[in-house]
Symmetry: C2
Subunit: 490 residues, 2 copies
């Protein structure tokens, strides 16, 4: 890992300049090539404060086309981040295809330079697992990655802080935390070593840079980035793309299969009106409690075409305070969405503390329509089961209550509804050629749904199959399920 060990003889200024010039020229070419090939590049830079990260980044960006990168520093994050799942703040700032993002404020934020130990070894290894999963997901989608850690010795650190403190123009930069850190330097170092070791993977390795030799550090950083981008640019048949997905499964939650559900379930209108009123009232009260307890709620709707998602959602929200929920319609990805990882648009809409986010179609499109229409490769689809489970895990980690509904319908009932829509003027807009085409692939979809239920049903993000031949039954079933889950939770 210590690829950045400092040479004995320091580099001369002219040597540095000449090497840097060559690298700069190459970096410019690579930036343009990554741009035209749509390869996103992520640079991570960590290190203790006053280790010279600012100086190093300053040197690095001088070699970059200033129009092609974005630098993320501490100050650009806001209290918004605290209202969302941890990785939300980074997902939303990921560079689009062809761009370069430098993260000085990054997902190692809670790990390096801790004054306190973790509560338990498990808590710590859990962090490593989560971070490695995040980076693996991006690397698997061909993000180019370079991670740098700026290493500084205790003596050097002391010298730097002293110098900063002495100058009235910079003394404000020395914080109380810095001084505590200096005092407990050995513990900090030991912790940093462990973090580096545990997150140094084959795909996303660390490069350690010596803070006391900035010319060497700067050259190493630039050269490593050049090599990373060269690899990405030439890696058309990257071994990564062929890497099988982890055989990870959501915790067992009893097998769900569409065929097991009784579609004849129904509800008469009288009973429905009464139940609806009662359940909507209950949900409204629960919404207030959830809001005050700051619990984020994500409700995901999937189902057959014409299963009645729209009407179901209407009944779900009609009792709610509109200030506390949002309905997020998911259609085919737009330009900006296409220039990102397929999960980006869902992460961006991760539920906010205290709010109910309702997804009308979801991230499961990846293993349904995208799988069946061939919009993603079989390998990508296979990977998606793991990636989706991991995303839901992260949301649940932040305290989110997640429920997923499959609105189930018989093939005959769908036909009846399609025909009805074609005959009813104000419903005509609801039926398109695509609906008929999808219907022809009913069996493929049914198989994909069963596999999805099997592989992504979990305790913290359960699937609920909703028999929807009778819409009245379907509406109260969803309402009842949400009320029960909320009551159990609050």
């Amino acid at each position: 890992m210590m690829t950045g060990v400092s040479p004995d003889v320091p580099l001369s200024k002219s040597e540095y300049k000449s090497q840097m010039e060559t690298l700069t020229l190459r970096l410019g070419e690579l930036q343009r090539e990554c741009y035209s090939r749509g390869i996103p590049v992520i640079v991570v830079l960590s290190g203790p404060s006053a280790s010279g990260k600012g100086l190093l980044v300053g040197k690095l960006v001088m070699s970059l086309d200033p129009r092609g990168f974005r630098l993320h520093t501490q100050s650009s994050s806001t209290n918004d981040a605290q209202l969302h799942p941890f990785f939300w703040d980074f997902w939303r700032r990921l560079p689009p295809k062809g761009a370069l993002g430098i993260f000085m404020d990054n997902w190692y934020r809670p790990l390096f330079h801790r004054a306190k130990r973790f509560k338990s070894a498990t808590a710590q290894t859990d962090w490593f697992r989560r971070i490695n999963a995040f980076e693996r997901q991006l690397a698997d989608s061909d993000y180019a990655f370079a991670k740098f850690y700026l290493h500084v010795s205790k003596r050097e650190q002391k010298k730097r802080l002293k110098k900063l403190a002495a100058d009235p123009n910079t003394s404000w930069r020395v914080t109380k935390r810095d001084l505590i850190m200096l005092k407990r330097f050995d513990r900090y170092s030991k912790n940093a070593d462990l973090v580096l070791e545990s997150t140094h993977t084959e795909v996303v390795p660390w490069t350690i840079l010596p803070a006391d030799n900035w010319r060497f550090a700067s050259l190493t950083m630039t050269r490593t980035l050049v090599e990373t981008m060269e690899k990405a640019v030439s890696g058309g048949t990257s071994p990564r793309a062929a890497r099988p997905a982890l055989t990870k499964r959501a915790s067992k939650q009893g097998a769900l299969r569409l065929a097991d559900f009784d579609l004849s379930k129904s509800l008469d209108r009288d009973r429905y009106e009464k139940d609806l009123d009662r359940l909507q009232g209950k949900l409204r009260r629960l919404q207030n409690v959830a809001y005050r307890k700051r619990i984020p709620i994500a409700l995901a709707y999937e189902g057959w075409d014409a299963a009645g998602k729209g009407g179901n959602i209407r009944r779900l929200v009609s009792g709610l305070d509109p200030r506390g929920y949002r309905v997020i319609p998911i259609a085919a990805p737009t330009g900006e969405e296409k220039s990102h990882h397929y999960l980006w648009r869902f992460w961006k809409n991760a539920p906010r503390n205290g709010h109910i986010f309702i997804f009308d179609r979801t991230w499961y499109g990846r293993v349904l329509v995208e799988k069946i229409e061939g919009f993603c490769t079989p390998v990508e689809c296979e990977r998606a089961y793991t990636e989706i489970v991991e995303m839901e895990q992260e949301w649940a980690k932040s305290g989110a209550l997640i429920m997923k509904f499959w609105l189930h319908l018989s093939k005959d009932e769908q036909l009846r509804r399609f025909k009805l829509r074609e005959k009813t003027p104000h419903k005509l807009w609801k039926i398109t050629d695509e609906d008929w085409r999808n219907r022809e692939k009913w069996d493929d979809y049914a198989q994909a749904v069963d596999l999805m239920l099997k592989r992504t049903n979990s305790k913290y993000a359960p699937w609920i199959v909703v028999e929807s031949n009778c819409k009245l039954h379907a509406r109260t079933k969803v309402l009842k399920a949400v009320v029960e889950q909320l009551e159990a939770r609050l």
Copy 2:
């Protein structure tokens, strides 16, 4: 304005229900029609706290397709807003074409329900002017607008607050501010009347709703929205589109004309190296001061193709702390950008307090390439001069330092550079067919530039024409100008 005066006889429940049903059906149709025609709809709802805004919005959204609207409430704004120009927070949340945005948290925030009077009558009328300008800009771009104010009497308000305070589940909603407001109710009312009167325009009128008759209020609100959307949908040949732009001019700043600049100005390499070093050092120090004083800085680059914008920006930033600046490259608008007002993407990137935002090409594309290529109509282009000046005024209001550079070049020098680029392998990517096509329209552009300089040069956002036949001269001229402006300001 008082279109919402309450009827003497209250509406019966069944009457309300039947009227609402008709309106709901129509609203659904109109939502789909606005969607397919790409008409964005903005609903503003203001009124004192506890006036029942939540209830009313709840009723309204029950008539809407929940997938087609977005509700903006107080809680969705963050401290980010305080780091940006006032309207930034609203521009970034404007609905895209075809969508509907309901703003309970809106730009009337600082105006209604003030306990204190404005410092001066001028301060107040200035607010009205700014708000009317904001709404006019959107209305001119065919946003459909409906503004509602929920009026409540002193007696009713007292009753409501008492009721809220009595219930332990709602007592937390009654704030100290509410009680102060009740005490000074008359002054509040008088102020609200003035605000309503001063922002009630022909294009964007207010509708006042009676808080003590919610059925009537709810019906009026829904009906007004239906009428607004109907007008928008049928308004193919809207009189608005033909309305001439305000004949507003930026404050006189001396006439600038390209022909007056001496392109033979040059600088020798030795002098350049020295000046560059000195100026970059100065700018770096000034950056620190500007950061600590929280001054936002916007530097806008325009110029002829091959005038050297890229290299100029590089020299400008190379001395700076990269954590404090951002370079924002402006290309042809993308999908999401196209679904918004043309100024949306610039407002979204309004400079953040303490940071330097550098625009590589700018909002002036509207009156240059878009004008000449016919991407906007002559009326739209004419309007743009006013709209652009107003945007810069708003940024300046928030304390921003704005400078705009036109990198000027002779036609011969451009030809020389084009040819050089074609002959130099690592510069070949810089020259495209479009560059040659633009060159053919040199005279059109020159005329458009002169008009732009004439109409948008102002004290708070000055244009600086930079003679760029000699790149060395151009680079130091920009640096010097920025240093001088900053020194004068800090």
